[in-house]
Symmetry: C2
Subunit: 198 residues, 2 copies
């Protein structure tokens, strides 16, 4: 005999979240049952809120409560630079550095070799529209330095050049991360770090 219908349904819904198996989902449900209606209510309201309020920013494709989003509508930001990132979470990491005051473009994924279907969900066309604007001078391609990331950056570079040859295209520097050990650095990273020594 399984649990009651309401419990089983919620276990199933929680199990769809990443890293959550049926056992963890079960723990979530019984935690909520123990903690009472306030916590369940809070979670329900927050989810409802998400459905009702979250939109995609029409410019950068970040998820936001407003469109254009806060960053895109902030005129104090440097309108000449667009930093292209894979996910909305990546943008947060750049914001936390405090080093960047330009705009962003969320690609919503990368081109996966062997999965060309995926390309049409990426916000590439939208990026090319933005680099056409005369205010934009530089596109910083900040995707991950791995195979899909590099492939996508090469593709974007070609497309941006076709669209607007005046655009300066840059990438993140490759070098040794803080606290790392030269002995364990791979050759490509170490080679780049040597070439771009400061």
């Amino acid at each position: 005999m399984p649990y009651s219908r309401s419990i089983e349904k919620l276990i199933k819904a929680f199990s769809k979240l990443p890293t959550v198996g049926p056992r963890t989902a079960e723990r979530f449900v019984f935690h909520l049952l123990r903690s009472g209606k306030k916590d369940v209510g809070e979670l329900t309201m927050a989810l409802k809120n998400l459905i009702d309020n979250i939109k995609s920013c029409e410019l950068c494709w970040d998820f936001s409560d407003q469109s254009p989003c806060e960053i895109c509508s902030d005129t104090r930001r440097d309108q000449t630079k667009i930093c292209v990132v894979t996910h909305p979470q990546d943008m947060q990491v750049f914001e936390k550095t405090g080093e960047y005051k330009g705009l962003y473009h969320i690609l919503r994924g990368v081109i996966k070799p062997g999965d060309e279907q995926n390309v049409k969900f990426l916000k590439i066309k939208e990026l090319l529209e933005r680099v056409k604007m005369p205010t934009v001078e530089e596109a910083i391609l900040a995707l991950n330095p791995d195979l899909p990331g590099e492939t996508t950056m090469m593709f974007l570079e070609k497309k941006i050049k076709e669209q607007n040859p005046q655009t300066k295209i840059t990438r993140l520097a490759r070098g040794l991360p803080m606290g790392s050990d030269v002995r364990y650095a791979d050759e490509i990273t170490l080679g780049s770090a040597l070439k771009n020594r400061m």
Copy 2:
């Protein structure tokens, strides 16, 4: 700059779940944003359903869509036995064995030495009411064989005897688990297994 309000709120709500930190909560939210309104809607509905439908069974204190719950209202079950367990999840484990056809009582926790406040939330009074009933012959104390569990079982044994001296009080056998190794068994377990050899 943090995420939008709707996103931050949901991250906070998810972070209250056990084993979920802010990073995991963030992953949940962006997974839901990517997977679209259907998944968010399903989770919201399941949570709402839980608030609206789940009750505590007035007899065994399991969480259920109905009260008395399915097991308590099933007249084919052996009404002479009550198996006392700590959590609703424990009941499921006994059900899966297929070895037990009696009733249950969910204590909703154990007596924690040094935390006497906790005792008043346990369904002890309700258990004692049930063992007064003439149909009940045996109480199986199936709490965990650890310090809080043993303390609670000793306390329950005393109370049940006071309430109804006719009640047979049993505990789960202690012995070697399947697939275990005699060399690594602790003395108490091995001593019990020897004493209760079959």
